[in-house]
Symmetry: D2
Subunit: 327 residues, 4 copies
């Protein structure tokens, strides 16, 4: 199937994935999980919302937790270059039949809201209130020392169209998994704006849903320690997959589930992809090292479960890829 | 079932597990595996045998590989305090109806051979040729930086009797897994002479067979790197279990299989047990954190496969313990 | 002193620092050092040159070693977006009175040569021959597992002018050290194009000279192991500074000297700086945590020694900053 | 100078170093340091004393802090095999002209007090109240994850006599530093009972004084993190030496000073020494790799400062060894 070309003059300049808004059933339980177990810093909190960030993040928040009746992913947030990019974005979406609105969000500059053609609820802003970063405040480090939000991964019912749409926004493909043979379909795609492996990954499946959000941590020892802490904190069943090494992205990973089942990846290592002639790496769906370099298959829940987007109907995927599941 | 008491004045003084002799089908392939992948140092080698050791080991070898028609475990070797302990050992075995002989072995002092009542082939010596240790020869480090032989683990068909026999030899119980309820049977026992968790572990199963030998490595990063190296060296299927954290012993572990299927554990962390009042830690067979603190069950092969002892018939175990297997 | 503003529409698009060309007295000794001790991969070699790269690098080389009568830094190489950027670069330099030429270099696309107004010899290219990256070829990993060239650091005799010139090229300031008080002068500046802390750092001193080139390594354990290996390889005196933690950039670092005295930093950790509103972090020259978060001062050699640029006269700096030296 | 021989049938059976009693000026400040920065677990505390232990320690305490007018080392504590060893110890000391007394100490069994001929205040006990160990309670881990008390190191004014005396108690020499040439004097000695590098080390200097107590930590990353935490907690000047690699013992080390200046080593790696034929490793005082494999000399304070023993006059050493100091 067609692999999208890199676009170097996109309609507006997306810098990187920036933040995510999650609806959670029990705000206290979720804050406790992300603060004490994962180790994010709570920057602000009231009765209905909490704002958290990683140690290197200057911006006010990369994770917003909102008390809600039903757990969901409310928004995926991206940072654009400057205010003019927001206006260009509005124009682009309007020209492509996508409704947009400008809204006010606490601690953020002017914020553009859209729901893309596939049901992913997005927001864009060019600025956020700043806070001194905490990278050198080791006295405040907790949990697995999460440093920054790294990427989102979503289930899309229409993978190829979704990949093509985001390629038009300037996301560049870095790795992808494809069926073998002529007419083999793309089953998953990793796309970047900030020059590493991904800001946004798209996986074939019932969608639109959030598969996971990922925080980058300094090294594998932080991730091993998180396993130990979760195992001795009554959170054994929240350790969903890993630790292990992805073939894709070469990352050392762990997947955990938060109190509402939202999936969080802790992610270490990565590589650079900012050269204009950087070519996407193709993986055969049949190559077991794609999922895990060390060969252990992922559990069924990892392929099937995800967070719906607020108010969006979930559709069956256009096709069912043949992947290896641990049962 | 009765837990054996610590004996502080054993019939002879076993210092620690010292070395193991493995029969292998292809000496070159086995040496390549242990030298280049695991990272042991080849101290001597001829057409039929190779002698290897870890970086901190002063003694000539802790692993002997012998070319043989049939892969097997030929001997488990233990170090005793001095020459007089060898004579005391001979007397003890004779008094208990166990035949013994003194033999010459290359690079070893006077060596006592016995086959214990359960079919485990043992050898004891008080001295071995010395070599400068290589601990500070980081320029020679290879593989996962194995530092020393740490312990053996065997399948025994008659666990309780085997535990009781080794307790009489002065091995002290540190941890054990037991069925719940009255009359619950011991299914596995970890026993030590050198003051850490174990020199010799005994697991219920078809026996006598060697379950694994274990080398201690400095830290989990060495083990993660070994996974990466094996995965990219065509040895993916030799990664049998892990990496993970044992509940028992708290060790960070990985189990790999050598070219003949002999199982090797790479093992990091440990704790001290030399106090005379150190009490054995009991694990319920039903506690999933016993096998793996992080909850992942071991594969079937791990419970069922092992290396027979040279010339020893393998017997079915007296009972079948109810353990959790990943299938 | 004036801190340069970020420029988002530079005259041509520099993507990142890309490679360095070093003149060395004994090619064999230098290759042995970079291959066996540092762990770079030798991609090509003949009697007069060797080409090396890190494990994640797709491009043919990031380090070129050339046999020469006198050790020197021959070129600092940068990657630009595409071929048109090379022409724009030529025009920009011509307009600013800097001579340029297009040359052919092995394994590189069309290459632009300039010597900047301060004597730094640069080259720019938009493409280089590609090689499969070796990130997942853990079987080939050596040394401290260097993954990619990360940055250059130079001694400049005219720091402020040099900073201003590179700011015009689109380099954005991320951190800087400055004298306290009104009229306090910038003594060092860290500037980036690729979105992390730096591609190019400028330090007050006798210049133009190369202070160091830096390779990024996955984690601090790789750096500790390199210390051990160098200490046991007769390279104790080549361990110049560290290991330690920089306040600046938060990096875990080690500085070593190659056989010609060229300084190499091994560098782990980092943070992202691609937001357009990312503000430079100011350090007082008086803050000891700037150099080393843990307080140990750098040795005198680290402040005074560097590699001259081929054929360039070295000038005294415009001022002498008051820094703390370990003597 | 004469190196003492190993004694395998000592007058009584010392198992290992077990605990230390420190007098501190501000109990709250000291508890805060050892609990929050170092990461020991506070097991009991009242207005005048606090009792702490590492994560693997079953015994009630390995560190006792006592509020006192003057900071000092009050006692070095050793564990013996059983109660009969205490009586044998009393007899031994009486026969050698050393006064002893049996005392009651909180949470300890019958405790023998002696001051050895060189002024070191010791206590011996065969039992202590037990607590469940916290090795698998990763949810309680703090600081640098100290696991167990590993050893003491003292300044002795009469090194050779002190070494000889402790050898008679069954301590076996594992490493020592000696002047070169005939009649070269021992300047430092490392001696063990528990089968690793040391329980008790003796350094030439103004004595009797405690040079340091050492806790074992799982890996170097824990030690690097402690450096970062201390640097960002206003404790920069308490980072006295390291991190680095000792040539002696091969340990990765860091030396810090507590609020009263008592020195604490955090110590990782080690090796086994329990074989009866284990030979002491000699270091020339001139070998710089002895102190630090990576070559950095220790600061003057490290050679000169120590904690006096409660009520003991400090004497000048019999000789001044020629060591390398960083000034």
């Amino acid at each position: 199937m067609p692999v999208p070309q890199h676009i170097f003059d996109p309609p507006f300049n997306i810098i990187r994935c920036s933040h995510v808004v999650l609806d959670v059933a029990d705000l206290g339980a979720s804050v406790a999980f992300y603060e004490n177990i994962i180790g994010l810093h709570v920057e602000d909190r009231d009765n209905t919302s909490a704002y958290l960030r990683g140690s290197e993040e200057h911006q006010h928040h990369s994770l917003v937790l909102r008390k809600a009746a039903t757990p969901a992913c409310a928004r995926l947030g991206f940072r654009v270059g400057d205010e003019s990019d927001l206006d260009k974005a509005g124009s682009f979406f309007a020209e492509n039949g996508v409704l947009y609105s400008f809204v006010e969000r606490p601690f953020q500059g002017r914020t553009l809201h859209v729901t893309d053609p596939f049901g992913f609820r997005l927001e864009f802003c060019a600025s956020m209130e700043k806070r001194p970063h905490l990278l050198r405040r080791y006295d405040l480090y907790k949990g697995c020392h999460p440093q920054r939000l790294d990427h989102f991964n979503v289930f899309a019912a229409e993978v190829q169209d979704t990949v093509d749409f985001y390629a038009r926004l300037g996301f560049r493909l870095t790795e992808y998994a494809e069926e073998d043979g002529e007419g083999g379909r793309i089953a998953a795609a990793w796309m970047q704006r900030k020059g590493n492996v991904h800001d946004f990954a798209i996986t074939n499946g019932r969608g639109p849903r959030l598969h996971h959000l990922a925080y980058w941590v300094p090294n594998p020892m932080n991730i091993l320690h998180l396993c130990d802490v979760m195992a001795s904190s009554g959170l054994l069943t929240s350790l969903e997959r890993g630790p292990g090494r992805h073939g894709i992205s070469n990352a050392f990973f762990l997947y955990v589930r938060d109190p509402d089942g939202h999936r969080v990846e802790l992610y270490s290592s990565d590589y650079q992809t900012m050269d204009h002639d950087h070519e996407p790496l193709r993986w055969s769906l049949r190559d077991p090292r794609r999922q895990t370099l060390w060969g252990a298959p992922a559990p069924r829940s990892w392929f099937e479960q995800g967070s719906p987007f607020l108010g969006q109907e979930v559709r069956e995927p256009l096709f069912v890829a043949d992947v290896r599941i641990a049962d």
